[in-house]
Each structure stands twice: as C-alpha cells, then as structure tokens.
Symmetry: C2
Subunit: 218 residues, 2 copies
C-alpha cells in the first residue's frame, strides 16, 4: 500500500512540533472550520483558541488554505485508521450490525468531536484537492462495504425483500440519531445524556427485531 507518510506534506516547522501540540492546533482549526466553513473561518479566532500568536500560524503553515489542507489530511488519516477497528465483520443480523455501528459512531464522536464535526465540511468545501476527495470516496465505499459484509439475512421475515427491509431499518436508525442530536443541541451538550438516550433505545431495538425478523426459528 503506497499510502502517504503521515504529515508528509506539512512544513518542517510544524512537523518539528511535539505531536500533542500539533493536535491541539489542528483541533482548534478544525473546530473553526466546522463552525464557519472555509471562507468565513477566521485565522484570528484559530490562533486565539489554540493559544498562540498570529505569527506562529504563518510560521507553521503557508497560508489559510494550506492549514485547511493539513486539517483534511489529518482527519482522513485518523478516520482511515479508525475505520479498521470499528466493526469486526462478524456474522450477525442487520439490526445488530446497525446497533454496533451506531455505538461505534457515538464513541468516535465523543472521543473526537473535532474530526466528527469537521468531516462534514470536507464534502461541502470547494477547495478540497482531488486526491483528498478520492481518499474520502474510497473511505466511504469501504464503510458501506463493511456495513453489509457477512450479514445473516435469513433472520429477516420472508414476505418482503431484505433490501427493502434494510433501508427501512437504516432510516429508522438515522431518524433516531437525528432526534438524539437535536435533543443534545437543544439542551446542554453534556455527552452523558447522549449515553442515556442510547440506553433508552434498547426497547426499540427489541421491538425492531420482533417486527423485522421472523418469529420462529425456521
């Protein structure tokens, strides 16, 4: 695999920095980009949030766009690396698979909120180099493949095509995630509530199994 070395394209001045400090800076930038998009993101706010002077930013990066590109590279590296450990592609029903993915997403969001928020911006922004677009494309394909690989479709009720049922299940999970997200945004952003919210979902998980799977062991 000819994957690029981590931080290959960054300026030496930035690479010389302690890894932890690098992350802090990139996180501050990703937060700003996620909140305001590329154009409206302010380098001044970034330096303030990262606790450094204006000069340092342009000592570490050529310009705003260079910083943006480094953020994308960092986010992609991290997501690619994480995807592998996400889902062991075990033989299981689709609902169980979706539940495991939802849990993995939740954990990733809590542990890496900056990357989670920033990843949405990458797609929308016009100034993303094609190479990054490609990497993101394959990343998403890989994700979808892992989502459907090695599923036990025989658990589904037999009177409707599994493809139809899977889309319905997926929409249900998405709709639930959307509601949880809104709830979290409306009240404080305490991550503990997210967990409680997820716990409550157990009831609905069971209901879905009753509804979508066959009742007997045939």
């Amino acid at each position: 695999m000819p994957s690029a070395e981590r931080g290959e394209s960054m300026k030496e001045t930035f690479r010389r920095l302690e890894a932890g400090r690098q992350e802090e800076i990139l996180k501050a930038a990703m937060r700003e980009f996620a909140e305001n998009g590329y154009d409206k993101a302010s380098t001044n706010r970034i330096v303030r949030d990262a606790g450094m002077s204006k000069g340092m930013l342009y000592y570490y990066f050529e310009n705003k766009e260079d910083l943006f590109r480094d953020c994308i590279g960092y986010a992609l590296d991290h997501m690619e690396q994480s995807l592998e450990s996400w889902i062991g592609t075990e033989r299981e029903g689709f609902i169980e698979r979706m539940a495991r993915i939802a849990e993995a997403k939740r954990r990733y969001f809590r542990e890496h909120p900056e990357i989670s928020g920033f990843s949405a911006v990458i797609l929308l922004s016009p100034n993303v180099p094609p190479s990054f677009r490609e990497r993101l494309g394959t990343l998403m394909e890989e994700g979808k493949r892992k989502m459907f690989d090695g599923l036990d479709l025989s658990r589904f009720r037999g009177d409707l095509p599994p493809e139809t049922l899977m889309r319905l299940v997926q929409w249900t999970f998405d709709g639930y995630a959307r509601e949880a997200e809104e709830q979290m945004k409306a009240e404080g952003v305490n991550f503990g509530d997210l967990d409680r919210y997820w716990d409550e979902f157990g009831v609905y998980l069971d209901a879905m199994k009753t509804i979508y799977y066959r009742g007997d062991g045939s």
Copy 2:
C-alpha cells in the same frame, strides 16, 4: 381570539407598500437570515437581492433587528394560517397520517422555501422576543396534537405497544426525509427530483403497513 392584526407592529412606510412587494422584501431577508444566521446576515446583500437601495431598507425598518422581528412575525402568521389547512384530522392509521403530513410538508417547502428555511433560524437565534417564542411553542404543540388526534390505533399489530411502534414509524419517516434532503442538496436543487424521490417511497410505505399493521382484519 385576541390575535394581533397582521403587520400591526410594522412601520407605516412599509405597510403602505403593495402586499406583493412586501413579500418580496421579506423573502429576500428571510433567505439571507436562513443562510447566515442573524449576526452574519448582511443588510447589503438583502437590499441587493430585493432590488432596492440601502436607504429604502432603513426607510421601511428601524434597523436590522426590527427587520428580523418583522420576518419572524410574517413567518409565524403564515405558518399559523397554513397549519389549519394542513391536515384534516380524519380517522386513519398512523402510517397514512404520517404520509399525508410528509406530503403536506413537501408541498409547503416547495411553495414557501424562504419560510421553511427561515423557521429553523428562529429557534436558534438569541434575539427572538419572548412573545414570538411563545407563539412558536403553541404552534408546535398544536402541530403535535394534530399529528395524533383521531388516529385508528387498532390497525397496529397487537404484540407491541402502539407508542413504541409510532416512534419507530416516525423515526423511519424522519430518516427518509433526511436522506432525501441530503440527496437534493448534493445534486442540483431541482424540486422535481424531490417528487420523484417521494414517488419511490410508495414501495416502502406498503412495506411499513405490512410490517406494522395486523395482517388480518381482526
């Protein structure tokens, strides 16, 4: 009902304007507010989009916040008025009810995209007068009431509580709407595609009825 007269609080100069022109101006403003939020919305862009000079804006409105408030008032008036004609509360199953609501939402979104987009901003913005917040609150309560009034819950399968099933159905619809929205945003914003997307949903509607309703006429 001591509901306020339409346009009661607006400046006379603006009220003297032809109704159609009033709408054009408010729509331009709502578009800008929806896209950028209150703070980052630009009065310059609004006047350009509305095809008028800077001076006129401040001839019609006291200041930016006044304009914002008038937008909210207009949007609330319109939504309150529309809600009544939305759903005739007929005796029907929950899935049919949700399908009708989704269709009504879709039509409203196509015919009044500015209000649809702007309504989301109202909740988030800090400078919304409490009276408006209250009106929005009752509006949403009314909406929820109409959503569940006069339902025929006996169509649901009997082995799970209807409340559980209803939430699952709601999430499914939300998830689907979310996917359609994203699809529309990713490609061009041609509203025709939205309709085609909805037509395809017929298959899934039938599937949901098979899954959530009782099979026989018992």
